[in-house]
Symmetry: C2
Subunit: 237 residues, 2 copies
């Protein structure tokens, strides 16, 4: 029998979903989950997502590598920023990285009632889809959105995931259908579409355009970050 | 200068929007706002939306005509139901009608911080769009959804409204863009699409199919219900 896929468009709505026994895929394309995937692909030993700046500061005081973002901008005093392009070097090799962001880390902490919490991005979407099929479980795509509001880039990822899982999973809510149709209308023009998103307009800088170009790239990495306790590590795939 | 249009996909998210000075259009296609539009078009003097069954019961005890729906089904003891097809007769002529529903009336009561609260359905969408243009104000389409979750039929209405207001209003959030694209992907097949919605599947009965066929009909009525105090009356158009 086919499993079910649902889509939750905002962390403000995740309380309406029954997570028990299911896989939740958290997505924050711009840029938390794209950063996490990139950091693990470039040799970080694990990611420690934390909800507050205070928690991140406590890790920083202990000598951890820390990234902090609020409102789309890096927070002063933290050495790592929120551009995935800055995680492609040897400085993170073998080290744990602590990350706190406006939306993405909150979505992770709100998903822990699930059987498994995975982190997805376009960068590793096929690997996540393949892993879900191998697990044979119901799945919920949990879009991090922007301060509770629904955003386009995370919804596009959700629609892409629905498309990849069509053979194994039934669309179990209206939102899965909507995300799929929306993705299909934009998939041939993903970079241009996301360039016109509210997020890109908010951060109208050269950096965000380079980041977007990278963050909408499909299947650059073949890995699946999975929450084990309070850390994201690589799932066995 | 062009005004702005935003789309809020659930009453659970409306607190994230600034309603002040704006027009809010509440939509609950299946079936609260379709019923309200139909009742006013068939001569009801006004609609009194109430949030709770207790409030509706108090009106019923005073001899008002009352409609009550919970979970998609009529509530026992209330004379009117939630099918717009049952409001096309003389029995409501000149009378106020009290309505409480699972989603639609809640969305109305959560919108009252706005400058104007209107009620929309496909049945009167062009009239509502024309009225908004005449008022020259920013607008938020507030989708009633289903028990807090996002649903397809209200999102389709939102996308349709965005399309109608493209000349006068800028798309001011990602959700407006998403709803527009989703509507455009489904507009040539609206009845078939909504027939496959979660709502239709939940109420897998002949009646709901007939209701859907009517509720996706465009511009059957030329009127705009507007909240004045606690009552919906006809706006001057």
């Amino acid at each position: 029998m086919k499993k079910k896929i649902e889509v939750c468009l905002s962390p403000e709505l995740i309380g309406l979903y029954d997570l028990e026994g299911k896989i939740v895929v958290v997505v924050d394309i711009l840029r938390a989950t794209s950063v996490m995937v990139t950091a693990l692909a470039n040799g970080a030993s694990e990611i420690i997502p934390v909800a507050t700046l205070e928690e991140a500061q406590a890790f920083l005081d202990q000598g951890f590598l820390c990234a902090a973002e609020r409102g789309g901008a890096p927070v002063e005093g933290f050495p790592l920023d929120n551009s995935p392009l800055n995680y492609m070097n040897d400085s993170i090799l073998g080290k744990p990285i602590v990350i706190t962001t406006t939306n993405g880390t909150l979505a992770i902490t709100k998903s822990t009632a699930a059987d498994q919490v995975l982190v997805g991005a376009f960068l590793n979407i096929q690997s996540v889809a393949d892993y879900i099929v191998s697990q044979d479980k119901d799945v919920i795509v949990h879009c991090a959105g922007w301060k509770g509001k629904v955003n386009m880039e995370d919804t596009l990822f959700a629609g892409n995931m629905v498309e990849l899982l069509t053979a194994s999973h039934d669309l179990a809510c209206d939102t899965a259908h909507m995300a799929l149709k929306y993705y299909q209308s934009a998939k041939d023009n993903l970079f241009e579409t996301v360039k016109n998103s509210a997020h890109a307009k908010r951060l109208n800088k050269l950096n965000i355009i380079k980041d977007i170009e990278f963050c909408v790239s499909h299947n650059v990495y073949d890995l699946v970050p999975k929450l084990e306790g309070k850390k994201l590590v690589l799932a066995n795939i």
